[in-house]
């Protein structure tokens, strides 16, 4: 078993001139990529005194320099904490306090703190020596959007990252000939995972960074002869709205698409299959803690499009009862996952607490499902209450906390409801207990300065009281019924 970094090194010696990264006019070969990663590792150790196990917060902007520094931190023995460049002050404060980084690299747009430009980390020509990495060591910490508002640091070891990339590449059938367009954010498990999948295999990554510019998206697809890309269901809603059936023009060259796990209407799946009849369209089921535990390829599972697919290569999935006992096939229970890709720990949590996330060695995902006799998984409900607006996660409590400060609003609870426009997947709906004197419009106007646009409720419903458990916890799922 070799780390992603060791595979990068092998690619740089076996095919030094092969193009690894493309960004606009810039092209970087595997040889250059490896050199820059080693230069970054040298600088991190010598200039910033990075020691084994130290954390570095990285602004995951999706540019070439980010890739150099990301692998450079690993090669220097450090732990990467990639965050969205638009992370707000509160979330950043929590992450910084939790990880106590030795430095923060790359520009952050909404946080006032001292950051080091990526360029400084790759200046000079001195390179670190390459030593084999300890596969059990933590490589990355990815902070999820916690349902309670407090983010959770998911620690992933070098073994976790290597295993996930291997499993994904086996299922999707990636090869060194692949040229992938990367429009996903690399601050999340999905996008960053695509970087590791492509580069470990020796393919070429075209860094685009966003789906927002459809002209560029298709322009790069044509210019670079792209063979695949990753997207979330909301990206397909956007592509469809912005370009109709134009993607069919690339049916001959697109070998694969990987789709992230959130609700996707069957009609959308069928349209993609019709437009891309020869493309492997692979939808995954997974989480930051257990990346891509199941997969479904649309064409080969065309009678099972409503399922989350079957267990990924080298993974095991079992369904457990609330008592922690495996249930018979066809019985509803919690999806639990085993494999080298499953998170090695949560940052700053005790091993005892972490152990409670497992049943008999199987990680508890918090999702309810039934597995049939062929191994297909039918998702029943998400125990977790996160709202997914166009691929962006919204914690209900973040919206509720602000709602509850508005004069006239006594209490509130937010849930995700299907977007009637069919573009964002889900949108936020707020249930409020409020005085009649305050209108929905007034409430919305008071929310606007405090929340990003996608977090704003699109609908309000006034109710007499918020449903709660006997211990006072809001029962958001009951509001969905």
């Amino acid at each position: 078993m070799e780390s992603i970094e060791e595979q990068l090194y092998q690619n740089s010696t076996a095919s030094p001139d092969k193009i690894a990264l493309i960004s606009g006019e810039a092209q970087v070969s595997y040889n250059q990529l490896w050199d820059y990663c080693l230069i970054a590792a040298y600088n991190l150790k010598s200039k910033y005194n990075l020691q084994k196990g130290d954390r570095v917060i990285l602004s995951a902007a999706g540019n070439i320099e980010f890739v150099y520094v990301y692998f450079g931190v690993h090669l220097a023995g450090g732990i990467c904490v990639p965050i969205d460049p638009d992370t707000n002050e509160t979330r950043f404060g929590y992450i910084a306090e939790s990880t106590k980084p030795v430095c923060i690299m790359g520009a952050l747009h909404k946080v006032e703190c001292e950051t080091i430009p990526f360029e400084d980390a790759i200046s000079g020509t001195d390179k670190a020596d390459f030593h084999l990495l300890d596969m059990g060591q933590v490589a990355d910490i990815l902070f999820t959007t916690g349902t309670t508002g407090a983010p959770k640091g998911v620690a992933l070891s070098f073994r976790n990252l290597q295993a996930a990339a291997l499993n994904i590449n086996i299922f999707i059938q990636n090869t060194a000939d692949d040229i992938e367009l990367l429009a996903l954010p690399v601050s999340h498990s999905f996008g960053l995972g695509r970087v590791r999948c492509v580069l470990s295999k020796g393919g070429t990554l075209v860094m685009l960074g966003t789906f927002a510019n459809m002209k560029k998206f298709f322009g790069e697809m044509k210019r670079c002869n792209v063979t695949g890309f990753g997207m979330v269901p909301a990206s397909w809603g956007f592509i469809k709205k912005m370009s109709g059936k134009y993607i069919a023009k690339f049916a001959g060259q697109l070998k694969y698409i990987e789709i992230g796990s959130s609700f996707m209407p069957t009609a959308d799946k069928e349209l993609l299959m019709e437009l891309l009849p020869n493309t492997r369209i692979c939808m995954h089921y997974g989480s930051t803690e257990a990346s891509r535990s199941a997969f479904m390829e649309f064409h080969s599972s065309n009678n099972d499009l409503l399922t989350a697919g079957r267990t990924s290569p080298n993974c095991e999935i079992k369904i457990f009862s609330p008592e922690g006992k495996e249930v018979p096939l066809g019985t509803e229970g919690e999806i639990c996952v085993k494999g080298d890709h499953v998170t090695c720990s949560y940052w700053n949590e005790t091993p005892e607490r972490f152990a409670s996330d497992f049943y008999n060695g199987y990680f508890r995902t918090g999702d309810c499902a039934i597995m049939d006799e062929r191994g297909y998984i039918y998702l029943k409900s998400r125990i977790k209450e996160m709202i997914n607006v166009g691929g962006k996660k919204v914690a209900p409590m973040e919206v509720e906390d602000i709602l509850n400060t508005i004069p006239g609003v006594k209490e509130s609870a937010c849930i995700g409801v299907p977007d009637s426009e069919g573009v964002f997947g889900e949108v936020v709906k707020a249930f409020i207990v409020a005085d009649e004197s305050v209108t929905d419009e007034e409430i919305l106007n008071q929310l606007k300065p405090n929340l990003e646009v996608y977090k704003l409720p699109v609908a309000f419903k006034r109710i007499a009281e918020i449903p709660k458990t006997s211990s006072g916890k809001i029962q958001r799922l009951s509001l969905k019924k």
Partner: protein, 79 residues
């Protein structure tokens, strides 16, 4: 409608979505110049423009729009 009138209305819409003032917007302001002008921002801008000018864009037309100038030109063609 005069082009300058279209322009100022478009500037206003884009500024609103990008959470800034119209004087920070010019013809060349493009997707990604403001973090708010991402895919969700692009959808919001185009649907607001459709509503404001009472027009409808076809997908092929929307695909070609990447900056403020493109929006103004697309509106002008429709009116």
């Amino acid at each position: 409608m005069e082009k300058s009138e279209i322009q100022s209305k478009v500037f206003e819409i884009v500024a609103g979505v990008c959470e800034t003032t119209p004087d920070q917007i010019n013809d060349n302001t493009t997707i990604g110049d403001f973090p708010q002008w991402d895919s969700v921002g692009q959808l919001t801008i185009l649907s607001s423009v459709e509503e404001a000018f009472e027009i409808n864009f076809e997908p092929e037309e929307m695909m070609e729009i990447e900056d403020v100038k493109d929006i103004v030109n697309a509106v002008e063609v429709k009116l």
